[in-house]
Amino acid sequence: MPLLEVTELETHYPTSRGLLKAVDGVSFTVSAGESVGLVGESGCGKSTLGKAILGLAPVTDGVVRFDGEEVSRLGSGARKPFRRRMQMIFQDPFGSLNPRHSIGEILSAPLAVHGVGKAGDRKDRVARILAQVGLPAESIHRYPHEFSGGQRQRIGIARALILDPDLVICDEPVSALDLSIQAQIINLLVSLKGEFGLSFLFISHDLSVVRYFSDRVLVMYLGVIVESAMASQLWSRPLHPYTRALIAAVPDPARRRQVAPLDGDLPGPQDVPAGCRFHPRCPLSSDRCRVEAPLPRTWAPGHDVACHHADEVPRASDQP
């Protein structure tokens, strides 16, 4: 049984310009100990998906099962025990910590709210988690603004892990950080994954980071998952034209001044094209793509793709 099972999840928002289908029928699973990457461009709904799983964004339809139990319909009281087991790490290390609370308050409040341990135990727990994320013990008396971006992200990680969760959803955890700090934080997540026995849903727009940190990768475009595969497989044999375009768009010193691989703009989630959502930008699009939305089909074990023309995609090795 997978730890997290998401089935046909939809999050729609009514707006003045019509229904905004941020997440529009997404299904996937995360097994215990697995790290699943979710890539896509801004506005594709990846952040909303992460929040909807945690009940921080509304679920219009579909089911989220955690450890076999449906959590998507629970009220805030009934959800509380599951909150402990599913946590989130946010992108913005400046906005995700309350500027008016000391680090000690930020880290001990979750324990108090969930009634974990006595006051003395909580203090020890806070001290231990600070050491685990590589921060000095005296940090508890300091305030978020006294820390650098990388250190704040360590605090955010400590807050997410202090309740000893099973699943951590990371929403672009390193995108706001400098390259030399990114590696520190990614390494920290890798070590904590082993130490705490964590499973991850790792949301990012950065393909190289996702590739490094994920066992399996989901590619999202305009509210739907267009391809999912093991990380190594996705990079060696991307099937969906969008996945191929994403990989090709990563700047590569080996391709000096090559022409941009994909034309057109990302349409907003308010005006989703009919048929296959990707067809207006797709080099392979046909008449069929304009009217019929492709369903995901299994190409190889563990490798699903939603494209009518996936078989026409040339193999990576055929490319110049």
Partner: protein, 295 residues
């Protein structure tokens, strides 16, 4: 590894926090002078029973003594021979009492309604905004006069009436702050950790919403003082207490012969309201990091 701040941050933005705000406030002379003036006024109000133990409404000397004419009555006496200085000192007590109590009541009410509306949003917000609008539709002074006319003319009813007229301003401010703060990631994180609504409102959002509220509080005190003065000028306030407004009201018919009867309490009102407004500006500059960082 010591806690170090990013180099760029140290260069560009001064340290945040209470100490920084305090220093910024001290560097603003208008704010410091205003605060000193208001503290003196509070001291004067508290000392009134010792300075003028007698009822300020009792006749103590010859009427129409001009200020400076008799050293025992430095601000003179009015048409009935009452000591103007005693009236001003006791009036300070009433004005500040009404100002601060009405502000506290108005802010509390505004905080309650604004926080709930802003935090929960949706239908709750729609309903509460409509409720706020009911109080904002009639001209506020007309509403105030009606409220006081219905109830007994006592200081407590004046305070309640002023609070009822001024709370929508506070409510709207709090609502706007809560609406923007509830979208912040740290509030999202608090929800993700399973914190209850009350805890999120009180512990997470409220401390961040306080600075603008403190600023508007000082302006609300000034507004309340002006409203009380206007009410007592019209004779709608408690007739048994002396206030700056009632002194001006009593002196208005003698404006040509004994203008000091209006001028003395008038100056008291102007200085107090001015000080409160300057204090509000200074607080705004020092509590708002974006403004003070530019200095």
């Amino acid at each position: 590894m010591a806690a170090v701040v990013d180099m760029a941050e140290t260069l560009a933005v001064p340290q945040e926090g209470r100490r920084r705000a305090f220093r910024a406030f001290l560097s603003n002379p208008a704010g410091v002078i205003s605060l000193a003036f208001l503290l003196c006024a509070v001291a004067l109000a508290l000392a009134a029973p010792h300075l003028y133990p007698e009822d300020p409404l009792s006749m103590v000397a010859r009427p129409f003594l001009w200020p400076g004419q008799n050293a025992s009555y430095p601000l003179g006496t009015d048409s009935l021979g009452r000591d103007v200085a005693a009236g001003v000192v006791w009036g300070t007590r009433i004005s500040l009492l009404v100002g601060f109590c009405a502000m506290a009541l108005g802010i509390s009410l505004g905080l309650l309604v604004g926080a709930v509306a802003g935090y929960f949003g949706g239908r709750v917000d729609d309903a509460l905004v409509k409720f706020i609008e009911i109080f904002q539709t009639p001209p506020s002074f007309v509403l105030l006069v009606v409220l006081v006319a219905i109830a007994q003319p006592a200081i407590s009813t004046v305070i309640v009436a002023i609070a009822l007229v001024t709370w929508p301003t506070a409510a709207r401010l709090v609502r706007a702050e809560f609406r923007s703060l509830r979208e912040k990631d740290f509030v999202m994180a608090a929800r993700g950790l399973g914190y209850g609504h009350a805890r999120i409102i009180v512990r997470e959002i409220l401390p961040n919403a306080l600075p603008p509220l403190i600023v508007s509080a000082s302006v609300l005190v000034a507004t309340a003082i002006l409203m009380e003065a206007a009410l007592s000028f019209l004779g709608l306030s408690d007739p048994n207490v002396v206030s700056w407004g009632s002194m001006i009201g009593a002196g208005r018919e003698l404006l040509r012969t004994a203008w000091y009867l209006c001028a003395v309490p008038g100056v008291a009102i102007v200085l107090t309201v001015l000080a409160l407004n300057l204090l509000g500006d200074a607080l705004n500059d020092s509590l708002n990091p974006r403004v003070s960082a530019k200095r």
